[in-house]
Amino acid sequence: MPGEKPLSNYLGLDIGKINTRAAFFGVSERKFRLQGYGIAPTSLGSGMHPASGAGRAVQVLQEKTGIVLVKPSEGIASTMDSMRQNIDQVGLVTSVGPRLKTSVFGLSAQGSLNVGRVLAESLPLCLSGLFGLADLGDESGVIDALITIQPDLLIIAGGEDGSAEAHIIRWVELARTLCLLLPAPSRPMVLYAGDSAYHEMVHRRLEPVCQVLIAPNLQSEYGEMDLVPAQAVLDPEILKRWWQQMPGLGDLATLPNSKAATVPFALGRIVRYLSQAKATHPATALKSGVLAVDLGGHSTMLLAGMDGRAGTVVQPCWEGFSISQDEALVSEVQKWTAQPVPLPAIQKYLSNYVVRPDVIPESLDDLAILQAWARVRMQQSLKRLAMNYNWLPYQPGQGLTAHFEPIIASGSVLTQAPTPGQAMLMLLDGLQPRNVTTIVLDTYHLLPQMGLVGEIAPILPVHVLESDAFTNLGTVIVAVSDVPAGETLLTANVKMETGKDYAVSIPQGTLRRLVVPKGVSVVLELEPRHHTDIGFGGPGLGGRLKVPSGVLGVVIDARGRPLRLPSDAETRAAQLTRWLWNLGG
C-alpha cells in the first residue's frame, strides 16, 4: 500500500477537454524527477472510455522514453491492471466535465451571497442564480425560478457563527420544499456553509430529501472568508457527478492507488502551499505572493497566494459567443493586437475560434489576435480575482501592485508560442507584475499534479519544482517611475562569472532584455534614479540581485504602470512589435 512504503514512482494523468496528458515521475539521484511525458487527444463521446485516451497518452510516453508501464497492445482493463501493479500512485486531475449548475442562497449581497458566488467561481461550477434576503419575500417565485434552472447544487451561506440568523432557517426550508417538488433524481445536492449553529437542523430537515454536504462557515466573521474547507467538500462531489456522466473516468479514479481532483482545486492547493512556504521564509523581507495562470482552450484559471491565503478564479473563455459579440471586448483585443488588424477581422477570427479553440494560427494576423486575446483574458481574470479577494493588491489598469514570485504560466498559447519573447510579452502585458519576479512556463501542465501529489508525497513537488521540468522563462525587473519618457531611471551593472562585466542604462518607457548565457548566473547591481521603484523596499532603493540563467535571461520592464499604448492603431501595433523585438522577436 502507498502508505506503507515510500513512494518511488507516480503517474499523473491530466484529462482535459482537448488533450489527455500522462507524466511519469520516478526517483533519480535520490530526487523525484519527471521521467517521461505523453499527450493524446481526449476520448470523448457517449460510449467512449476516457481511459482509452489516457492509455494512448501513456503509450506515447512509453514510446518516447522506453519506460514500460503498460503493454503496448493492452486494452483498458489490462491497462488499468498494469497501472495497479506497476505504479505506486496514480494521480488524476481533470477539467473535462460540464460545470455544475449552481444556485446560492444567502443574506446580503455584499456578505454571504458574495461569498457564495466567490466559492462558485473558484471551482468548475456554473453560477445560475443568486437569491438573497429580498427574494424571501416571494418564496413561490424563487421556487419557480429554481424549477426552471434545475440546479445541480444549492449553496446555502450566511450568518456569522453563533448569530442564529433566522433567515437561514427559511432558506433551508425553501431548499427542502424545492426538493419535495422535484423528482428524486433531479434534486440538487445542498452544501450548507453558513452559521454552524444550524448544522444539526440542516441535517435533520434536508437529509431525508436530498444529498447534504456540510462545510464550515464560509465567513464565520464578517470580512474573514475561508473557502478552502468548502472547496475540499465540494471537489469530490463534482468529480462524482462527472464520473456518473463519464463512467470510464470514474474507473480511472477508483484505482486503489489513485487520487483525483479537478484542475482548479489541485492548482489552488499547490499555490496555497507555495505561498505558505514564502510567507515563512526568513529571507523574504517584502510581502510577497505566488501567481499561477492557466490559459486553457475553454477556460482561464488564475490563482494567487499570499500570506498563506489563496484565491482562485475559473472563468469560461466565453458564454455562447460573447467574446465576438461584445464590441468593447473586441476593441480591447484590437488594442493589444501586434498587427494592424481591423475590428471585423478580429470579430471573425474570434467567432471561428470559439468553434475550435484548438486551431493553430497560420498567419501573423491570426497569431496576433490570439495573443491579444490571451492578454485580455489575463487582464479580465485578474480583475475578477481582485474583485473576489480583497486582499489581492491590485489596481484596475495598473495590474498587480505587490510582489508575486514566481509567476507560473501554462496553456498552449503561451507554451507553444513561436518564440519565448512572445510568451513573456503576453504575460507582462496581461498581468503587469511589479518589482522583481521570475516567470516560469509549465510546458507540460504539471502544476496541478504537484497540488494533487503534494498531499501524499510533499517532497515530490519540492523536487520537481526546482528541476528543469518547469521552464525558467526569465527574471523580470519592473522599474516604475514618474520621470519623463526617455530619461534614464535605472542603471544595471551586470557582473558576469566570466569577468566580462558591463553596465546598461534603462530609459523610461522601454523594455530591455539582458542575455544571460545558459548555465551561468549573473549578479546585477541595480541603481534606480529619481525615486524609481524596483521593489527593493521603496522608491530609489536598489541593491544586488543574483539571477539564474533563464531562456530570456533578464527582462527590465520600464514601460511604466499602467501600460500606455498609442491610440493610433498602426502606431500601437508598431509599438507592440518593437517591444517584442526587444525581447528577441
Partner: protein
C-alpha cells in the same frame, strides 16, 4: 503513432440509419412505446412538477403554537386536495379547523405553515424527428431511429423545428439579392450559402420560415441568429465564405422533402452536433450505414477497449486518412472543403512562426493547399 492525426468529425452522408436519444432533463412519464412511428411534433415524454406555491398559516387558523401544528394535520404530505377539504383540525370544546381555500397539493408543513402547490408545470419533450421508437429510456424518453440524409454543422442557435427543405441553388442566389423572397413560404427550411446582412435574416423571420441552414454567417449577425425564433444552423464558419458545393448538392437533391433541423449546441460528452436530418420518404431495403450521435464507435471496434491496432475513432474525433473529405477551419481557406491528398511527415513552419504537422488538401478547383492538420474537420 501520430496522435495529431485525430480530428473532429462532421457527419454529412446520404441514406444512413440515424439513431437519436430524445429525453427529458428530469424523470417523468414516457408516452410512447417501442415501434411507434413518430412525427416531429409528437410528445414522447412529459414530467409534471407542482408549482404555484402558496403558504397557509395553520398555526394562526388553529390558534396553536407553530411547533404543534403538525400534530393537528389531517392530511398526508403529497395529498391532492380540493377547495373545502379539511387540512388541519383541533378537537376540543370548540373545534377549530382549517379548510383548503383553493385546490392544491400539500407539499410540506413547517413552522406552523403549510406549503400548497396550486398549479402544475408540465414539461414535455417532443420527438423533433420523424422516425420509429427503437428503444425506451425508462422515465426519461426514447431512442428514435430514422433512415435518411444527415448533415452536421459547426454551430446552432439551440432551436429545433421541422419543415419542407427549400434548397435550390439558383434560387439561393436570387434570395441573396432579395429578389427571391416572394418564393418563400411559411414553414419552409431555407438553405442559403451565406447570410451577410441583417435585413435578409429579419425578412426570413418575418416570413415565419421553419429554419435556416447557412453555409456561413456574418460574425456580426451571430447575436441576431442566436435570438431568432427559428433554428439557425451554420455549416462552414463565420464570414463571407464560398459555399461547399458537395454539401449544397446533397441538400439540393432533397429539395421539397420534409427535414428536421436540430440546431442544438455541440456536446463533446455525447458527441452531439447541430444537424439537419432529411428522412427518406420511402423505406429502402438495402442495408444502410449506422450513424449514432450516442454511439459513434465503429461497429467492428468495441468502444470499451483499446484495440491492439491503432484505433480509428475517438468519440467524435477520427483519424485522418488520405483520400478522405475534410473541411478547413482556419486561415485563407476557412470553411473550404476538399480531399486529403497527403500527410507529410515533416513539420512546416507557417507565417505565424508556428511549426506543426500539416495536411495537403485538394480543393474543388484542383488547387492543393497545405494547412495544419489540427485545423481540419473530417467529413464522414
Amino acid at each position: 503513432m501520430d496522435e495529431k492525426m485525430m480530428v473532429d468529425v462532421l457527419r454529412r452522408a446520404r441514406d444512413v440509419e440515424i439513431s437519436r436519444e430524445c429525453k427529458l432533463s428530469l424523470p417523468g412519464e414516457v408516452l410512447v412505446k417501442i415501434g411507434d412511428v413518430l412525427n416531429p411534433e409528437d410528445v414522447v415524454a412529459q414530467a409534471v412538477i407542482p408549482s404555484g406555491l402558496r403558504s397557509l398559516n395553520l398555526a394562526r387558523g388553529l390558534g396553536v403554537d407553530p411547533s404543534e401544528v403538525t400534530s393537528f394535520l389531517v392530511q398526508d404530505a403529497d395529498a391532492c386536495l380540493e377547495q373545502g377539504d379539511i387540512l388541519a383540525q383541533v378537537e376540543g370544546a370548540i373545534t377549530r379547523l382549517v379548510r383548503m381555500p383553493f385546490d392544491g397539493r400539500l407539499i410540506a408543513c413547517q413552522d406552523g405553515k403549510a406549503q400548497i402547490a396550486t398549479d402544475n408545470l408540465v414539461i414535455q419533450k417532443q420527438a423533433g424527428l420523424m422516425g420509429k421508437v427503437e428503444d425506451i429510456i425508462p422515465d426519461y424518453g426514447v431512442v428514435i431511429s430514422v433512415r435518411g440524409d444527415l448533415v452536421q454543422g459547426i454551430w446552432g442557435n439551440g432551436r429545433v423545428n421541422c419543415g419542407v427543405l427549400h434548397a435550390s441553388r439558383d434560387y439561393s442566389e436570387r434570395l441573396q439579392d432579395g429578389t427571391g423572397l416572394d418564393e418563400i413560404e411559411k414553414g419552409q427550411v431555407v438553405v442559403l450559402p451565406s447570410c451577410l446582412n441583417l435585413e435578409l435574416l429579419e425578412r426570413l423571420e418575418q416570413k415565419e420560415v421553419a429554419g435556416l441552414i447557412l453555409g456561413s454567417l456574418s460574425p456580426g449577425l451571430i447575436r441576431h441568429a442566436q435570438d431568432a425564433s427559428m433554428p439557425v444552423l451554420v455549416l462552414q464558419g463565420y464570414g463571407d465564405l464560398p459555399a461547399d458545393p458537395d454539401t449544397f448538392e446533397l441538400l439540393s437533391l432533397s429539395n421539397g422533402k420534409l427535414c428536421c433541423l436540430n440546431a442544438g449546441s455541440t456536446d463533446e460528452l455525447t458527441g452531439q452536433r447541430p444537424e439537419v436530418i432529411i428522412p427518406n420518404e420511402v423505406a429502402q431495403d438495402e442495408p444502410a450505414q449506422d450513424v449514432r450521435a450516442q454511439d459513434v464507435s465503429a461497429p467492428d471496434e468495441p468502444a470499451q477497449e483499446v484495440s491492439a491496432q491503432e484505433p480509428t475513432r475517438i468519440g467524435f474525433r477520427e483519424k485522418l486518412r488520405v483520400g478522405q473529405k475534410v473541411q478547413i477551419h482556419s486561415g485563407l481557406y476557412l470553411g473550404r472543403t476538399g480531399t486529403l491528398v497527403d500527410l507529410p511527415s515533416t513539420p512546416k513552419t507557417f507565417e505565424s512562426g508556428i511549426s506543426c504537422l500539416t495536411a495537403q488538401v485538394q480543393l474543388g478547383d484542383q488547387e492543393t493547399v497545405t494547412v495544419p492538420r489540427q485545423n481540419l474537420f473530417m467529413i464522414a
